[in-house]
Symmetry: C2
Subunit: 352 residues, 2 copies
């Protein structure tokens, strides 16, 4: 109210520092810092400081805080592409969990490119991040040494060599088995699949399909592609143009499934009358497309939340041995795998 300097209320153009608050409150900067943090301060002074903070409009400078305290309160989230609904959902869960404990998230898209992965990992080091949640390509997963990095890493969706790093993954073998058993129970026998070729996930789901088929004395034809809708659509068109096409096809993730469905539509193939289709990721559209697509639903939000929880636990005890949390997928059977093949068409897949 009086004709002081310039602390009338706010917007004095100059940013107000902790020193200004100390001056206004008539205490030392250390006391202000402690009052704002958790240090021991008398109630009397704490109130004075709070009043001074309100009067000056003080906002702490996080860069200065990070530099001095050596805690960035920042975690990195490195995924291939946030536009993949799986990563979108995981990212939302990670961010919710991070902000809930006062941490910031830096999001990076690698496009399955090992060079970008290396670049972003270096960036994380420069940011002095508290930790990183990472969905690596197979190439970097193998050569990844979390000790070397200087911060803990929790892998998601994709696993590294065991014992190397914490990880939250789907039980891909089990999930693939669920799909295969479902298809077999429907009556399909000639089953194939299109799998992403950049991650361990594609490989594991492929292995799971093979193993499940083998338990029934059957084989499966698999093809490997870049895990994008475009590549999947192209591969699908090519496959459908060939003479012998399996009765049922499995996609190794939601993007591939999307491309396959587009390819089937372009080729005029009726689902499931001429071809059954199933895949991973219960994205919005799978419920609504055609007869509904049979998929393995991943606990997407849970994966992100669990990854963040593991990261925090790892920070509390850096020495404990690496853990791998394996979550189960849920089969959602829909029309795309109904067995509607007529008796005459059935001869294709008749038991030998």
């Amino acid at each position: 109210m009086q004709d002081h300097d310039n602390l009338t209320e706010n917007d004095c153009k100059m940013t107000v520092r902790i020193k200004d608050v100390a001056l206004a409150a008539g205490v030392s900067v250390a006391t202000v810092s402690r009052a704002l943090g958790d240090g021991p301060v008398s109630d009397e002074l704490r109130k004075k400081v709070e009043a001074a903070v309100a009067a000056t409009g003080y906002l702490p400078n996080l860069s200065a805080r990070r530099l001095r305290s050596q805690h960035s309160h920042t975690i990195g989230l490195i995924v291939s592409d946030i536009r993949n609904p799986f990563f979108t959902a995981v990212s939302r869960a990670v961010e919710d969990a991070a902000y809930a404990v006062g941490m910031r998230v830096i999001l990076c898209n690698t496009d399955e490119n090992p060079q970008k992965e290396a670049m972003y990992l270096r960036l994380m080091q420069e940011e002095r991040v508290t930790g990183v949640i990472f969905a690596p390509t197979r190439a970097t997963a193998q050569k990844l040494d979390p000790q070397q990095l200087g911060f803990p890493v929790v892998l998601i969706d994709r696993a590294a060599p065991p014992g190397q790093a914490d990880a939250v993954v789907l039980d891909n073998a089990e999930a693939a088995s669920l799909l295969v058993e479902h298809l077999l129970a429907q009556g399909y026998q000639r089953i194939g699949g299109l799998f992403g070729n950049t991650s361990t996930t594609g490989a594991e789901r492929h292995a799971g399909v093979l193993a499940a088929m083998q338990r029934h004395g059957l084989q499966a034809e698999a093809r490997f592609i870049a895990p994008t809708p475009e590549a999947a659509e192209q591969a699908m068109r090519a496959w459908l143009a060939e003479p012998a096409v399996p009765q049922a096809l499995i996609a190794s993730n939601g993007l591939v499934l999307l491309g396959m469905l587009r390819g089937a539509r372009a080729a005029g193939i009726a689902i499931p009358q001429q071809l059954a289709l199933a895949g991973f990721d219960n994205d919005n559209w799978t419920e609504l497309a055609g007869p509904g697509l049979t998929v393995i639903e991943q606990p997407v939000y849970d994966i992100g939340r669990t990854a963040m929880k593991m990261l925090l636990e790892r920070l509390e005890d850096p020495a404990r041995s690496a853990r791998k949390v394996v979550l189960s997928g849920r089969l959602i059977a829909r029309g795309s795998t109904a067995y509607t093949m007529a008796a005459d068409a059935g001869q294709d897949g008749a038991p030998r």
Copy 2:
């Protein structure tokens, strides 16, 4: 190679500071800083510094750099929910553009909650961000004063009172008109819509529909809901249970459209035979669901990229007057608005 201290190669457990690099290179810290930046340094010393950086494995501390240089090289991206495909795509574009110019992105989800918006805006101030790209609710858009904030703001998807802030928005009136004209051309006359009630976007699209209808001497029935699939599905079920339902319904965004389609399915309503459906956002599933949904496609990636470009231009010239970039949507007509109503059903919508 010799028995120096501990700069054998790397991982000496201690982080290496610029001082260590200076020592290793036999120059001052200032020279190292200049060599790494853009300062004037002789080629000879620059090479020495680069060698020392490589030998010591130096990684700059970004917090220290930010504190001293007073440039955070960080922008905030505040949206309602990254899981809305519209914001997912925008976010990817913003991040691409940001990393391309050496900036970091902090992503915040507000869930259309003004309190969270206020909290994140304060966080942005503490981070001393270079700028913010923001999709505000109507409530905060009105009371938003970019001058007060201390950093430039570019609004996306939603507009503020004119002249207040830069913005990148869709031409909602035009887009709504495209939808209405399309429906009218198909033969529909009794048209209604479900609109989000938290943003200016829902309001503008509603106004656009009304205006277009009015040009034809027609009226439209509108309802307002929280812009989520769940709220839309519930509202849809309720609406469909009433006696007089419009022949065609418009959704004000992708999430609402999704909920409406679910509601229609749950009620056993055939699209487009019993009800035509159209909306905004060309999300993946709209192409594949049922007969395909007629939508307005937004230039999502362009919106993000343009917002980032405007932010950079604003930084170069803080004084220039506020600009609003208005982009056009594209009508994608699909089966959900085909006019297939039988003659007997047609009497409902016969001209009066």
